[in-house]
Amino acid sequence: MAAYIARRIVLITLVLVAVSILVFAITTLLPANVAYLILGPFAPPEQVRALELKLGLNDPVWQQYLRWAGAFLSGDLGESTLMNRPIAPLLMEALGRSLVLTCVSFVLIAVIGIGLGVIAALRHGRPPDHTVSIATYLGIAVPEFFWAIVVIVIFAAWLGWLPASGYEPLSAGFAVWAKHLIAPTLTLVFGHLAHVSRLTRSSMIEVLQSPYVTAARAKGLPERVVVLHHALRNALLPSITVLALDFGRLMGGIVVVETIFAYPGLGRLVVFSIQNRDIPTLQAAILVVAAIYAFANLVADLLYAFLNPKIRFGRHAA
């Protein structure tokens, strides 16, 4: 197992290097001369050339890349061309905020998703089951930006319960901070419940019909104990692997949700830097995203391997 993990980590590192090269290559194609962006539309051509020289924009691409990579590895993430400030603190703050949003959403998806799956399984075939199915299906069938708008209209504009956007730091008070987190979290959670709840439901149904559970019931154990302690524990295995994948999916979801709610996280930073051609920020941000995404997927794979007896104990087991 340890060898497998080590191998995967090496692989991830190589992949990250490849991603950085890919991003660099793509950004050299971005149609906007950075020097003009900095100097403005009336810059005389000599000035533009001088700045290009200073920024090293005339060097061959591979040279620019190596220079950037060297700086990056020594901790210098460069300076945002647009905002004239070092990227590293900017990125770390944005990352922190995105992680908060993602983790809170993740926990809620797990809890609510599994809970709904259990309810649907217990009331299998009856109205609560159908309601849960339809509601969660709606969640994933409609794009996140739509739900985000619905949340803003209903909760912020009509009811006035929630603030429409933005972000208040923890220093402004826990209640304030939490309140601003609700709308984007709600949107993300609703958009991802279905995967977990459906899988929990179907695996719970299977387990509830298994001899193991029948035996537990026959022993006269109270239903609640049977369900929670015996059935759920076994039904959870597939759900956990899907959950681990959801973390990666959430990272995609934050791009749209952070943009709409003006939540200053990593997703919004990526969109902003693409739209404004802030290449250094874009590269740093994408690399961080790729790293997190890769590790989230690694964890998902490990969990899947660990929990799936077929793989854990060899192809011929189970």
Binding site: V23, I26, I149, V256, A290
Partner: protein, 284 residues
């Protein structure tokens, strides 16, 4: 000999799921195909006097900020969404299936190289990769479809590879090898026909991902351009008017919901029919 549980196995009744999926998806496809003929009003003509009308007898789904009929725009947009979903997925298949076949059949360094390349593309959340690729060129819907297809190539390749791996050891392949059939024969006449069913089922689900991702990119400005009635663009433009004319946003939202649910039901139903024991892990 095709494996057991083929989609085309006769005399097995269609599940309610499959029936519902076929009905919904079929209806939407039909509406989309017939759109230019059945749309009651022009979809892109500005009309000053009919702005912001709520749904009524003449304009079943109301009108938008330019006085255009929402229903007609929705119908024309159906073609765009279907084209996006199918086009992107077709592109994914066209590139991903050969890659997967090659990786799964030849193994060795070809397999390693192709799968590592796939890893690099999968290193970013799909929407970010799409954003990056589309940022380098002036926006257009067909480019978005290609970008979305490109983003999903690795997943298709992986699936094709795993299906090929499992098929490569089957007796009928060994028999073909023993008969000294050419590699391309084995790949395209023996493996591919048997690999299609799971691939098609997966592809049908990919269509929904493609539609959702494509509309997210349109929403962010990187897909269809005004005055196109692409559903993502419609929702994006409608959000300034949510309080006075919510129907402009809700119509495409609901339409997208129906289409995705329909295709999901279709795909799930087909998959269950194909092999009830198949619990393939689906990566978005």
């Amino acid at each position: 000999m095709p494996p057991e549980g083929s989609v085309f196995a006769p005399r097995k009744p269609l599940s309610p799921q499959l029936k519902a999926g076929l009905a919904i998806t079929g209806a939407i496809i039909l509406l989309g195909l017939l759109a230019p003929w059945i749309a009651p009003h022009p979809w892109d003509t500005i009309s000053m006097r009919t702005r912001f009308l709520p749904p009524n007898a003449t304009y079943w789904l109301g009108t938008d900020e330019y006085g255009r009929d929402v229903l007609s725009r929705l119908l024309m947009g159906t073609r765009l969404s279907l084209a996006m979903g199918v086009g992107a997925t077709a592109f994914s298949l066209a590139i991903g299936v050969p890659i997967g076949l090659a990786a799964g059949y030849f193994r060795g360094w070809i397999d390693e190289a192709l799968m590592r390349a796939a890893d690099v593309l999968m290193a970013l959340p799909p929407i970010m990769l799409g954003l990056l690729v589309l940022a380098v060129t002036p926006p257009a819907l067909w480019k978005t479809a290609l970008a979305v297809g490109f983003v999903y190539v690795p997943q298709i390749a992986r699936l094709a590879r795993s299906v090929t791996l499992s098929l490569a050891n089957e007796d009928f392949i060994q028999a073909a090898k023993a008969r000294a059939e050419s590699t391309s024969y084995i790949l395209f006449r023996e493996i591919l026909p048997n690999a299609w069913p799971p691939l098609i089922v997966e592809a049908s689900l990919r269509v929904t991902y493609a539609i959702l991702l494509g509309s997210a990119l349109s929403f962010l400005g990187l897909g269809a351009q005004p005055p196109s009635s692409d559903w993502g663009l419609m929702i994006s433009e409608a959000r300034s008017f949510l309080d006075r004319a919510p129907w402009i946003a809700f119509a495409p939202g609901l339409a997208m919901c129906l289409l995705v649910i329909g295709i999901n039901l279709l795909g799930d139903g087909a998959r269950e029919r194909l092999d009830p024991r198949l619990k393939a892990r689906v990566k978005a």
